[in-house]
């Protein structure tokens, strides 16, 4: 009797609210994750995908991957790309959120319209940026030329370093509204009385920002960054349409390389192994996030 009561203690009731969503995700994504781990330890290619034995070769796929220069490139590409995108889109998004949080005539409508880049399917965005960054007909080259910043057209998408830059630009463009709107919504949760009392206390804007806005926005910022990290880290559509991993594999990401191995080269197990490397890295980031966000909560 006492035990049952304990299970239905106030806090444990909460699990009932979470369970439906949890079960849903478990059904649809849990099985793929487990299957993928198993697949990555096997030797599945075209020859034994349908018939024949699937042998467990344990870590051989992973060992081979780390000797594969394209894999190593895509690993570092993914990290570099994610960090750079995140920094730019977060900072710009944050500044815009603060800017539009002021009460002036156009604040709301303009902020609303700025969301439009987020509504465009990524494949379409990728096409648009391919046009902007085109060598001969690209308007970006034209503008840079007119400003005398460059003498000759830059071959953005056919030179390894600049192709990465173009990808980052496109992603930041998509990411700015994402960051802006989530931080804007976060700002609304801060009680206005706090600002009022701060201004009575004679605090200036910068002080209120660091002492009130930032600390109270912390949970929102953490969520935005972790989500941004995860979604940027597994970028696929954008790279696939803009560069397909080229030129000469210089913009391959873990996700695009995993796709290529699985569905173009028929190396299913290796493709899974790449995906799992991606998963493990994100898992580490995720654990840090949970640790940071739930620290000190228990005592409340």
């Amino acid at each position: 009797m006492g035990k049952i009561k304990k299970i239905f203690r106030y806090d444990n009731v909460g699990i009932l609210f979470v369970l439906p969503a949890f079960v849903y995700m478990l059904i649809f994504v849990g099985y793929p994750i487990i299957r993928n781990v198993i697949l990555s330890f096997q030797d599945v290619t075209a020859a034994n995908l349908v018939r024949g034995d699937k042998t467990f070769i344990l870590f051989d796929n992973y060992r081979e991957l780390f000797a594969d220069s394209v894999f190593v490139t895509s690993l570092f590409n993914t990290l570099r790309y994610t960090v750079l995108c995140l920094v730019f889109q977060f900072v710009i998004g944050f500044l815009l959120a603060l800017f539009f949080n002021q009460r002036f005539s156009f604040a709301r409508p303009v902020r609303g319209i700025l969301l439009v880049p987020w509504m465009i399917p990524v494949t379409v965005t990728a096409l648009m940026f391919r046009l902007l960054f085109a060598t001969d007909i690209g308007v970006i080259n034209y503008i840079l030329r007119s400003l005398h910043l460059i003498g000759e057209n830059i071959e953005w998408l056919t030179t390894p370093g600049t192709a990465m830059f173009a990808l980052i630009c496109a992603n930041v463009w998509i990411g700015i509204p994402f960051n802006m709107i989530l931080i804007s919504t976060g700002l609304t949760t801060i009680p206005k009385e706090l600002y009022e009392s701060a201004s009575i206390d004679g605090a200036n804007k910068i002080e209120t920002f660091f002492h009130i806005t930032l600390p109270l926005l912390k949970p929102t910022i953490e969520s935005v960054l972790i989500l941004g990290f995860i979604y940027t880290f597994k970028v696929y559509d954008l790279v696939y349409v803009m560069t397909s991993g080229g030129p000469v594999n210089s913009t391959h990401m873990l996700s695009t390389y995993s796709y290529k191995l699985s569905f173009e080269m028929f190396k299913y197990s290796k493709g899974s192994a790449v995906a799992n490397v991606l998963l493990v890295i994100l898992l580490i980031v995720g654990v840090f996030y949970i640790k940071a966000t739930t620290k000190g909560e228990e005592e409340e």
Partner: protein, 428 residues
């Protein structure tokens, strides 16, 4: 005011839920009617439903293909309609799966045991799927003795026939005759002449030559004629010949007679550049001809053999029919017997801008002055890629090497050595 908004929001929510459950139940009834077959379409619109009802009620036979060109789709559809009207045992339906998705869909379909009855696939991939074990052995069921050897080889594994060539194509050199005359060049036959012509043709607004160089099978398709022309093979690149081919391509870029942008141009893009007059010569296939004739009727162009280094060479392209085992094999065979008859082949080839894989048909397929005729001649020099189950790996190495020299990220020597190392790892 605020309350009103909440109410309207709830109303919308209720409506959507209503919609969801409403549609959900109609989907339920579909489930009973085998949703993976065409029965699921009934809900879409009355027009569709009646179109479905017009079917002859025979056993379903499905085809997957990847041609996005409308003319191709219409032509295939016409043959299917005629077949369906000619008998009532089987009813064939064709589904378009985009090329970029085709391999993925077949791989996933194979894992999930959800495949069509016939697949019309790119010939270099054929061997991989045979190895997967999803294709029916067709040995002795079709007479392919009069077909081009290369096309039959592409669907033969260990002496067994696992497919029927749909049609053949190969690459050749298109040139803009007006530009060539204006520049005072003769039609190039060798690499040196090609280089000279390209230099003479290149101006501020026109580049001399373009060939699709994307880093995938499409790029490989466009590279191997140059590789093979030197005497190198797909599996043996790190030698004088292979390096010469890579160096030639590199020189085209360095001399400015071919644009680096080619690495982002598909064969369709190359054709568009050609008909817009931005490019004076291009390597491309015969399937572009119908589009070119329709979109640029005034452009004065001709086709010739790809200029040679030590020998003429081209690459064999095209699709094969394959029958999936475990599916409706009898229906598939029946349809294929119909579709590979001389009359239907002629019709399809004509609409596709392809050359029949059947030599007997191909030789009389075109008039002497037809733009297709050079392709029939080129076909004699065309070799298939593979057939090899691991061809995608070899192809990847080749297209990488060519892209490295185009982008200047590796010397021809290093690119050749790199490709060879990968290929040796595959073909031991």
């Amino acid at each position: 005011m605020k309350k009103k908004r909440v109410i309207s929001l709830l109303a919308v929510l209720a409506m959507t839920i209503g919609m969801l459950t409403g549609c959900g139940s109609s989907a339920q009834t579909q489930d009973g009617a085998k949703p993976e077959e065409s029965g699921g379409e009934a809900q879409d619109s009355p027009a569709d439903a009646s179109a479905e009802a017009e079917g002859n009620g025979g056993e379903a036979v499905t085809i997957w293909y990847y041609w996005e060109t409308e003319g191709h789709q219409v032509a295939l559809d016409q043959v299917i309609q005629e077949y369906n009207a000619s008998q009532d045992t089987y009813e064939v339906t064709a589904k378009y799966v985009p090329f970029a998705d085709f391999k993925k869909q077949l791989s996933i379909g194979a894992s999930a045991d959800e495949l069509p009855d016939i697949a019309i696939l790119d010939s270099p991939d054929h061997a991989s799927y045979v190895e997967m074990g999803i294709f029916e052995d067709l040995t002795g069921k079709f007479d392919v003795s009069s077909y081009y050897e290369g096309t039959v080889n592409s669907c033969t594994v260990d002496g067994k026939l696992y497919g029927i060539p749909f049609g053949a194509n190969c690459l050749a050199l298109y040139y803009n005759e007006d530009l060539l005359t204006a520049a005072g060049c003769k039609v190039p036959e060798t690499w040196d002449e090609l280089m000279d012509a390209a230099k003479a043709l290149t101006t501020d607004s026109v580049t001399g030559l373009a060939l699709c160089s994307v880093q995938n099978e499409e790029g490989t398709f466009n590279f191997v004629p140059w590789l093979w022309s030197t005497g190198a093979t797909s599996y043996d690149i790190n030698n004088e010949n292979g390096i010469r081919a890579l160096t030639f391509i590199q020189n085209l870029i360095n001399e400015g007679v071919m644009s680096k942008e080619c690495i982002n141009w598909t064969q369709g893009d190359v054709m568009n550049q050609f008909i817009s007059g931005n490019v004076a010569m291009m390597e491309n296939g015969p399937w572009q001809i119908p589009t070119m004739q329709a979109e640029a009727p005034d452009l004065n162009w001709k086709v010739t053999l790809i200029p040679k280094d030590s020998q003429y060479a081209s690459v064999l392209g095209g699709e094969n029919y394959a029958v999936i085992n475990g599916g409706n094999v009898d229906g598939a065979l029946d349809f294929l017997t119909y579709a590979t008859s001389e009359e239907k082949v002629k019709f399809l080839m004509d609409k596709f801008g392809y050359i029949s894989a059947d030599k007997m048909i191909a030789e009389n397929q075109f008039e002497a002055d037809s733009p297709y005729t050079p392709f029939v001649e080129e076909l004699n020099y065309a070799m298939p890629r593979g057939p090899l189950a691991e061809w995608p790996g070899v192809s990847d190495a080749i297209s990488l090497a060519f892209n490295q020299v185009i982008t200047g990220t590796a010397t021809p020597e290093d690119a050749a050595a790199g490709a060879q190392a990968t290929i040796d790892g595959i073909v031991k």
